[in-house]
């Protein structure tokens, strides 16, 4: 069971997080923390005129699951239109809740399937995604 949680690909994202750090001129920032453990994450985004994600970075401290999930997330939404991003967030949240409808876009994210067997860790996996959904809300509000 542990092997399905800490798959090599997850540990790889944890070791070498993609898009880790901060953007010089971020357009939207969202910070989010998991009050039950104190872990926190910050996601920064720049959109182009067509409302597509042209830059995304994250930083923060957290466990392997939250860091890997954030890292994978930044790869998955790169270049996507905000509407697609919204769909992806919902898809991922549903996936964590046990739905098996996987879109093609999931790529590495599928490796997080193992988290579903560890209910208390699901919050770790969704931390970055919750921050991202706050970003979408802000984008919508600005429109």
């Amino acid at each position: 069971m542990l092997d399905s949680l800490y798959q090599e690909i997850i540990l790889d994202h944890y070791r070498n997080p993609r898009n880790f750090g901060s953007i010089e001129n971020p357009q939207v920032i969202a910070r989010f923390d998991n009050p039950s453990c104190g872990d926190e994450i910050e996601v920064q985004v720049v959109l182009n005129d067509a409302q597509c994600v042209c830059e995304i970075k994250f930083q923060g401290r957290g466990c392997a699951i939250s860091q890997a999930s954030a890292s994978m997330m930044t790869e998955a939404i790169q270049g996507k239109h905000v509407d697609e991003v919204k769909t992806l967030i919902e898809g991922f949240q549903g996936f964590m809740m046990g739905q098996d409808c996987l879109e093609d876009d999931f790529d590495d994210l599928e490796a997080l399937e193992g988290v579903r067997k560890f209910p208390v860790r699901i919050k770790c996996a969704t931390l970055a995604w919750t921050a991202l959904s706050h970003i979408l809300k802000e984008v919508k509000a600005k429109e």
């Binding site: 542990l2 800490y6 540990l11 453990c37 104190g38 401290r61 957290g62 466990c63």
Partner: protein, 408 residues
């Protein structure tokens, strides 16, 4: 060393279980303790034989229930060396006990020109009640600093005590394990005219305590950490101080007379026990005190010191492991970090080995922040833990290291 676990572990039905096919190794005793059969039986006996509402009943059941409840006041009083059982107030736990002091003593005795003195190692239960009260009446909150090794830095205490009306500190830190020199703090505080509240949540369960020796003014603790049921606790305070305090919660039993538009209040301790109390849980607390007393708190403390030494020694041998909290006088609580393995991942991995430890901020965020930490792993022991369980922990930690070996 007298291995207490050999003799007493069998009294705890929960500890006999397996988790994921491995024997449970319960090392989260600072969060809550397991319950011996004698406590469960006492509660059951109460419900099956004596259960009734107390104090006002003129029938046999109610007399027995009242007797069962009130006799625990005497037991607690003796257990902690109080002067009188009327100094014992039953609450729902340490948290409520401290809130009671904040409301009933604090609201009356603190004003915007005063200060209270806490420490940097307090549990949220000894921080938040003061934050809430200060929002309403505005006093200053000062802090005794914590040193790098995790002790209280008392060198500036006299200076810090200026203007202070109350010092509130824990007896033993649930993160660092540090046992604070409460007696010394009380001495200096009293010289400066301040009262002293001690958060005994971690101490009463693990060592002998004596109010006459400590000479503090308030002492708060929880039943659930000392083999008693959840939902009960105690506030002890010197009688003359209690007598000057107004009520906390309002309701039945804490009154003398009630009129439509005002009330007068009962004597101490009833004044602070409103409504139908947690009778069965208090009965269980009595049984827990009997149980612990029979073992002997000095023996429990000695055995846990042995476990602490053994565990510290073995953990320190693990490369990349660092222990957070190295005070010379410690209880059997070890917070630690393992290089490259986040405490949450560690807890999940150990859980799969049947080992229950805690990972997180341990309700002491300010302390964590001071040391630039978000969370630590914590193993905490009780007298029913076996030396062998330390080996299982060490193996689990080695396994976690291996899994995360090549990280970053």
């Amino acid at each position: 060393m007298n291995n207490l676990a050999l003799k007493y572990r069998q009294d705890f039905p929960l500890l006999k279980q397996e988790v994921y096919g491995k024997p449970l190794v319960y090392l989260d005793n600072a969060a809550t303790s397991q319950k011996p059969t004698s406590v469960l039986k006492a509660v059951d006996y109460y419900y099956c034989n004596d259960n009734a509402n107390i104090h006002r009943g003129l029938y046999a059941l109610s007399e027995r229930a009242t007797q069962a409840y009130e006799s625990v006041r005497d037991k607690v009083s003796k257990f902690i060396g109080a002067t009188s059982s009327q100094e014992i107030i039953f609450t729902s736990g340490t948290t409520e006990s401290i809130n009671l002091v904040a409301h009933s003593w604090g609201r009356k005795n603190l004003s915007s020109n005063d200060a209270i003195l806490l420490t940097e190692m307090e549990h949220h239960s000894n921080l938040v009640p003061w934050h809430l009260l200060r929002e309403q009446i505005g006093f200053q909150i000062k802090f005794i600093p914590v040193t790098a090794e995790g002790s209280l830095d008392l060198s500036q205490l006299e200076e810090l005590l200026k203007n202070v009306k109350l010092v509130s500190l824990n007896h033993m830190s649930n993160v660092l394990g540090t046992i604070n020199d409460v007696k010394k703090v009380a001495e200096l505080a009293h010289q400066a005219g301040a009262l002293v509240l001690v958060d005994g949540a971690q101490s009463v369960a693990h060592m002998p305590v004596d109010m006459k020796v400590l000479d503090c003014d308030f002492y708060a603790f929880s039943g659930h950490k000392m083999c008693a049921p959840t939902g009960c606790g105690v506030l002890w305070a010197k009688k003359n101080i209690l007598e000057e305090m107004g009520p906390f919660l309002g309701g039945g039993e804490m009154i003398h007379q009630v009129f439509l538009d005002h009330s007068t209040y009962a004597e101490v301790p009833n004044r602070f026990e409103a409504g139908t109390m947690n009778i069965a849980q208090v009965v269980g607390l009595g049984a827990a005190i009997d149980y612990l007393s029979e073992i002997g708190m000095d023996k429990i403390f000695a055995y846990e010191q042995y476990l602490l030494e053994l565990a510290t020694e073995k953990l320190q041998k693990i490369e990349g492991l660092s222990i957070f909290g190295q005070a010379p006088h410690k209880g059997a609580v070890i917070s630690f970090l393992l290089d490259q393995v986040h405490p949450h991942d560690l807890a999940t991995i150990l859980d799969q080995e049947g080992i229950a430890i805690r990972a997180g901020h341990h309700c002491a965020q300010p302390l964590m922040r001071k040391f630039d930490l978000i969370s630590t792993a914590r193993a905490s022991f009780y007298f029913y833990n076996m030396p062998e369980e330390i080996d299982v922990l060490v193996q689990g930690l080695e396994k976690a290291k291996e899994m995360f070996a090549y990280v970053r």
